[in-house]
Symmetry: C2
């Protein structure tokens, strides 16, 4: 039986998961690929910290040990971050090594040029693990919906924020308390900025959009709102209205143009995304022919993410055996302009604070009329210190109408718009 020797760059949680799976599932991998797979060399910064695996793999601090080794045809990049991961992958591809990566930041930012470089060197570059951990979503979009026109891809693609929002909903905790709990249990990092501001989810939506629509928008070119301003009162009111608050990445075609957004969103309780709790992820893909499909699973964690890395490894090995390496992971390309705010329509949840006195509600309805907004549900909570909290679910309105409404409300000087969250049914 042919033996395929792997290199690895990085040996954190995911890297250790990959090493473990290659060893523990060796029989199944052989049964499926017809090859024996072993990890030969692992590049790490601090070999002294990984002495537990020193007898099994060759630990090195030098990338050259992998680059110059003709036995190593395939290298797994699990170091994370944009630099020097980008330079590492470039060197690997130039050395004609096939690459499997789990690096969303990097692929979202430099995916196009790295794919180009892979093609030029007739190498495979695959990165299933970069989006939604153990969920095989990129492969599903690229292979299974190859002949369908995808019109929308949306979902819960960040485990940390979903854990926090789940706890806020179920335990009635504040954002701060839920974050602390998540950090204590290891579901949030000491510096959770990339997660709670929505940046991590934005990276994943960039990659999902490229696969779904053949086109994407760069970070900065679409709205990204995190969960760090979410109030416990709005989570509770969402539940009273029959919704669950989730951080939703939303990419869709609107009049043949591309719209992407990451924002806290109210999801109706019967919707398949509503039962996705804690650190789990789920992506809903809507195709013209297939309709709504949903892919659910663990969004992070060493072994789940390693499963996706291994699925890429077995595909590259299959390509090596069949001599069909060098084809793009995602071959769909289509030029799309960004959608205009006037054309993107949704229902909204509005949370307002206003003085509890005659005339204020009339100001509100006047502002809504100017914005062209109408409501389907409204609740006013008992005033505290003369200030009442009013929550509304609107009928469909465009981003442009929402902006007009926000400006009209600001002009009242007495009504404060605490938040405006999209609603999906």
């Amino acid at each position: 039986m042919t033996t395929i020797k792997l290199g690895m760059v990085g040996l954190g949680t995911v890297g250790q998961g990959v090493l473990k799976m290659v060893q523990q599932h060796a029989d199944k991998i052989s049964a499926v690929t017809g090859c024996q797979v072993v990890v030969k060399t692992v590049m790490v910064r601090h070999p002294e910290r990984h002495q537990d695996v020193a007898g099994v793999v060759h630990l090195t601090t030098e990338l050259a040990d992998i680059l110059a080794d003709p036995e190593i045809q395939l290298v797994v990049e699990v170091m994370g971050g944009i630099h020097p991961a980008k330079e590492v992958i470039e060197q690997l591809l130039r050395a004609k090594k096939h690459v499997v990566s789990a690096n969303k930041d990097l692929i979202a930012t430099y995916g196009r040029e790295l794919n180009q470089l892979a093609q030029e060197n007739h190498c495979d570059l695959r990165y299933e693990a970069s989006v939604a951990g153990g969920i095989p979503i990129l492969r599903a979009i690229a292979d299974s919906f190859a002949a369908d026109q995808i019109t929308a891809v949306k979902g819960i693609v960040n485990g940390t924020t979903n854990y926090i929002l789940t706890q806020m909903g179920q335990q009635h905790w504040s954002y701060e308390d839920a974050l602390k709990q998540a950090q204590r249990l290891g579901f949030a990092e000491a510096d959770p900025t990339n997660d709670v501001t929505g940046k991590d989810a934005a990276y994943k939506m960039i990659i999902l959009s490229q696969f779904s629509f053949g086109s994407s928008l760069p970070l900065g070119a679409f709205a990204v709102t995190g969960i760090d301003q979410v109030a416990a009162a709005d989570v509770a009111q969402a539940a009273n209205f029959g919704y669950v608050l989730k951080l939703i990445g939303d990419a869709r075609l609107v009049d043949d143009r591309l719209f992407i957004e990451v924002a806290p969103t109210l999801v109706e309780q019967g919707h398949p995304l509503a039962t996705v709790n804690n650190e789990n992820n789920a992506v809903m893909v809507t195709g013209q022919a297939v309709g709504d499909t949903l892919f659910y699973g663990p969004g992070a964690g060493g072994l789940p993410t390693a499963t996706s890395v291994l699925s890429d490894i077995t595909t590259v090995i299959k390509n090596l055996v069949l001599k069909t390496t060098g084809n793009r992971f995602n071959r769909y390309r289509k030029a799309l302009a960004p959608a205009s705010p006037a054309t993107v329509a949704d229902r909204y949840y509005l949370s307002l604070t206003m003085p509890d006195r005659p005339g204020e509600m009339m100001k509100l309805t006047a502002a809504m009329a100017k914005g062209g907004a109408s409501f389907s549900q409204i609740v006013q909570q008992a005033a505290v210190g003369g200030q009442a909290r009013v929550m509304i679910i609107t009928h469909q309105m465009s981003k442009a109408q929402l902006a007009t409404l926000a400006a009209e409300l600001a002009a009242t000087e007495t009504i404060r718009l605490n938040c405006a969250y999209k609603v999906i049914e």
Copy 2:
């Protein structure tokens, strides 16, 4: 650009969906495969009924027109049923045509020998559409979890029964009324036997088991219970206990042996399978490394099923271009013995009818003690005509214990066990 010409056998709902997609999504198919795809010849029994497409494709009643046509490399079988579909596919494979099929009955029954014949003729044989319509579940198991050890695959794999059970739950209808409604709306056939007895779901579980565990059991070698005996009272009581009643196909490894079952099952309301309503399907795959993943989507219908057929077509075309046809759809094979009933443990929902008089509850608890069963929830409903209805959720017990309990209850002669449904959390 190379043109790939397809043959088709059958032109029902799915066949018409395939024809429509090949025409309407021609641009995307070309972008992804690099080939132009056209349907050249369609074999049908009654060409006069398909005159709307007579200008676009060549209609024939003779399979020979496809077999003898060297331009046709790939044929889609969407005629359904076991005979003569089996003989048709055999002739196609012997004529070195690649085959894409949507035929679950056939693949579940003769998959092994048809795969063998495909290999001998160096042909592709793919059948993603045979399980769960538009959900790309077979490919996900074969490709994405290739390196993981799957320990369980379970789900809702029949749209008709899920539609009926959803209506029974939401509208509080009887089975008979819900079935009539499903037939009126086209979600159930005039003769719904294969669906409501669980046979259709059993076919799909046979295929899912083969992909997940490398092994399966034939129809008749595992328990299949349909929904035709489900009482509205039990659907309502399940809801009161916090569960939804679903027809669940359940295949899992128990002590390295294979267990398969199709049966009405109580699913906890927060479980991802609980929100799968109406004609939708969902399959949960549990892997040792990845944990729980779920794939959700439309389980039937012309266009969703056609999407899966088209995903197979694009894969075969890719293989044709790369000259890598002739590899098995699912390469995983492993010999597994069936699990013994004593080792398969679950919680159960028991529905009992018993005389409302002193001593009966003691008989019940005595029978449960003999069966080694204990309960976590119990409800007694007001007696009607002296007969009380008692519903119980048990702690974990084995199939063997359940059989003992059923025998003990029968021996009381006064307590009737209306049903015993598994519970999943």
